[in-house]
Amino acid sequence: MGGLLTEPFLVSLLYGAVTAGMPLLLAGLGEQMSEKAGVLNIGLEGMMLVGAYTGFVAAYHSGSFWLGYLAGGLGGMLTALIVLLLCIRRGLNQIVIGIAITVGAEGLTSLLHYVQFSRSYPRLAAAPVLALPLLRDVPVLGRGLFSHNLLVYLAVALVFALSWMYRSTYLGLSLEAAGNQPAALDAAGVDVVHTRSLAVLCTGFLAGLGGAYLANVGAGIFVPFMTGGAGVIGIVLAMLARGRPLMVMVGAALFGASLAMTTALQVAGIDIPTDVVQMLPFAVVMAVLVVFGRHSMLPSALGTPYTRGER
């Protein structure tokens, strides 16, 4: 096991953990906002996939990563509009609609990709990297953590911004109330449907952004079904994080690291069957659920539609 503590292995592991963890972080933060407000957003995977597709197409045609991100976010948001209209406004079952969104997004993006690119898979150029001054010179960490696309640092900033928002603004209070006692929020003069709609649209944007990062930066390419369970992990992260954005980041890092393990081990020249390593993230999901799942403390009105004046 001599290869494990070498610089190439560690750099590859850290770098890979960030790249693989980013989509999970963004989607997890988004899902957390919906869940806080009482909406169980099972369609997260579908929103990521649509974001990956629209983000890739926009970046491919414009050559701009920023337009790619924007298009990815908007794609996810557009998908979230379905949840808004059907679940929040009409009170339909959130789980059923969520599953439909994911299945539908898988089919639709595959089809659109095929129509557009036939069987070819064009690549984007490598994403621009912003190596942070001074920090980039730290051994191992410099190349592992501080040489990434600008969006990575913005996402970390977002974690703290969301923590602050939940704690210190009226919006944070409204979201919490919408998830726990929507009738009380309504009685206080805040529209529950508006509050939840805002949360779900933000979720869609963040999930789509995560998808765009996955396609444009992580892979540089769009492949049908490319999210491969990332949305599901995002939901798990949000549920376990007990409303704390920082915990989503810790979780995303953990899952990111286990995803990055495959490449890192190859870099280190260690020969463990890839099947075993690829199982790792899912083993981690199960272990985490066993340890923390009992105490996830979800909002009491999670998944329950609210209609004013209804008994």
């Binding site: 409204s174 009491s300 004046g309």
Partner: protein, 528 residues
């Protein structure tokens, strides 16, 4: 005095009922306007219309002389209307001050300092002593009620609606509320108070209106109220409430027994006669249970319970009451000591065996442990006999029998449900409790344990539940009733036992001095 708000010809229909039928009323500044009416008369619907929670089908609301439509709760607040709803509407996971701050514009930082100033202002006005940073879930119902009132007054309400605010309060809480209401009235606020108790209506009210089946049946205006004798007022109100002819004896208003008892603050019936020359039905000897995290176990509890007896169990919550109930029901192992039912040792038996011998248990966790919310009422009514005849034969469900059985019980116990197939979770708390009581206090019941049978119910349903307990006792069932409401225990019990630190600190006969002895025992001091 000036009219703050008025309703003109308000009609509100729900599927199958006209909740408000062309209601016109006026609410004056500096006046407490009491609304009386039977359960379902439309009082809460009237409140919902003024609070912007419901839109009337016809009619207008007039505020400060302008006819308008109150489009949303926010609009109602902006119009200077503050509401304390019948159902608690606060966020339990937030603190007191956070609950009060709810409703500010989204992107602004929480203005905590300003909120605290307003909080102290209102605390002085109302004479309350709450900790603004206390989590709401930790407050008593009375304290939560104070928070509700503060929230209703937060933006200087000109009209304050109070929908049955006293039903959850202790006598002290009611007195405090009365003081608050007088304070507000003297500052020119118009108040609407809904209550089921005539005593409160007379004590706090300046004007009384009575609703009946969605219509204004009549009322007593301030001059008449002052001029009338109490007996005259009461006769008038009862006549209006139940739609009786003048001269018809109000006290015999058939079918309204529960409602009348509430109105007049009277008991439905006294304890049944207990024959202690017979051997007791249930004998508990030095029974203990095993300690569990955050729960008080039983320590050598002994008592005897006779047929037709109601043994009340008082005590501050968490002194072993839950273990006592679960141990007798067979849900919790007896760890030392013995239980005897009708002379037969049942210490080892589990739930099915004890149920077979007539032991019944009504849990305080109505929707979690007592019923399966997603299952229909009919299934919930046979929930404890799943798989057993006559409802199941060799594993095959006899739906016809279950549904027929359910229809009988629904009818007999006045369970208000759209149908026997409605999921139990859709029913109101009072009706879920009726399902539980119907299931547990059946013909084969010999010993029934009821844990907080009236907790969280409205007055009407509290009455009905107590009534059912009295009827069961008269039939010969031996009842153990656990409650934190001492008044209720005094009303229904033959004897009252007090739990303290997992022990039965003592049992006192329910006679004149009982309440003082029970209070003393509750603090852990010995009875004398």
């Amino acid at each position: 005095m000036s009219i703050v708000a008025a309703l003109s010809g308000i009609t509100k229909r729900y599927p199958g009922v006209v909740a408000l039928d062309a209601v016109s009323l006026e609410f004056h500044a500096g006046e407490v306007h009491v609304l009386l009416g039977e359960n379902g008369a439309g009082k809460s619907t009237l409140v919902s219309v003024l609070a912007g929670m419901q839109q009337p089908d016809e009619g207008t609301v007039i505020i400060g002389g302008n006819p308008l439509r109150i489009a949303s709760p926010r609009h109602s607040i902006q119009l200077g209307i503050g509401t304390v709803f019948q159902r608690p509407s606060l966020v339990l996971s937030l603190t007191v001050i956070e609950n009060l701050m709810l409703g500010g514009s989204w992107l602004r930082r929480l203005a905590r300092a300003a909120a605290l100033r307003r909080f102290r202002e209102l605390a002085t006005l109302l004479g309350t002593h709450l900790d603004p940073d206390a989590p709401l879930a930790g407050l008593s119902l009375g304290e939560q009620q104070q928070v509700e009132i503060m929230r209703a007054l937060w933006r200087d309400a000109k009209l304050l609606l109070l929908d049955e605010p006293t039903s959850m309060l202790t006598p002290q809480g009611v007195a405090d509320l009365g003081r608050m209401m007088r304070n507000l009235r003297d500052r020119g606020v118009a108040l609407i108070l809904i209550t089921h108790k005539l005593g409160e209506a007379y004590e706090f009210g300046d004007r009384i209106s009575v609703l009946r089946l969605g219509k204004v049946a009549g009322g007593i205006d301030p001059e008449a109220l002052v001029a009338m004798e109490e007996s005259g007022r009461t006769a008038t109100i009862i006549r209006l409430m139940f739609g009786l002819e003048a001269g018809e004896a109000a006290t015999t208003a058939g079918g309204h027994a529960a409602e009348l008892a509430i109105l007049l603050g009277r008991k439905i019936h006294g304890p049944a006669v207990v024959d202690r020359s017979q051997p007791p039905v249930l004998r508990v000897r030095e029974a203990s249970t095993r300690a569990e995290f955050a729960e008080t176990p039983l320590r050598k509890v002994s008592f005897e319970l006779w047929s037709s007896e109601v043994l009340g169990i008082a005590g501050v919550d968490g002194n072993g009451q839950k273990h006592l109930a679960e141990m007798i029901a067979g849900q919790r192992a007896v760890h030392g000591g013995a239980l005897e039912l009708g002379g037969i040792d049942i210490t080892q038996g589990g739930v099915p065996e004890r149920r077979g011998r007539g032991v019944r248990y009504v849990t305080d966790d109505r929707l979690g442990e007592g019923t399966v919310g997603a299952l229909p009422v009919a299934t919930n009514l046979v929930l404890k006999e799943v798989g057993a005849p006559p409802w199941w034969h060799h594993g095959i469900t006899d739906w016809a029998a279950i549904h027929a059985h359910a229809r009988v019980l629904i009818e007999r116990n006045d369970i208000r449900t759209p149908s026997a197939l409605t999921p139990a979770g859709k029913l109101s708390g009072g009706n879920v409790q009726k399902v539980l009581l119907a299931r547990e206090l059946d013909a084969e019941a010999r010993v029934a344990i009821l844990n907080k049978p009236t907790h969280g119910l409205d007055l009407h349903n509290q009455r009905l539940a107590l009534d059912r307990i009295g009827t069961a006792a008269a039939r010969g069932v031996a009842l153990l009733v656990i409650s934190t409401d001492l008044d209720e225990l005094i009303e229904i019990s033959d004897r009252i036992g007090v739990m303290f630190g997992g022990r039965l600190a003592g049992i006192v006969d329910n006679d004149a001095g009982a309440i003082d002895r029970v209070r003393r025992l509750m603090t852990g001091a010995g009875a004398t």
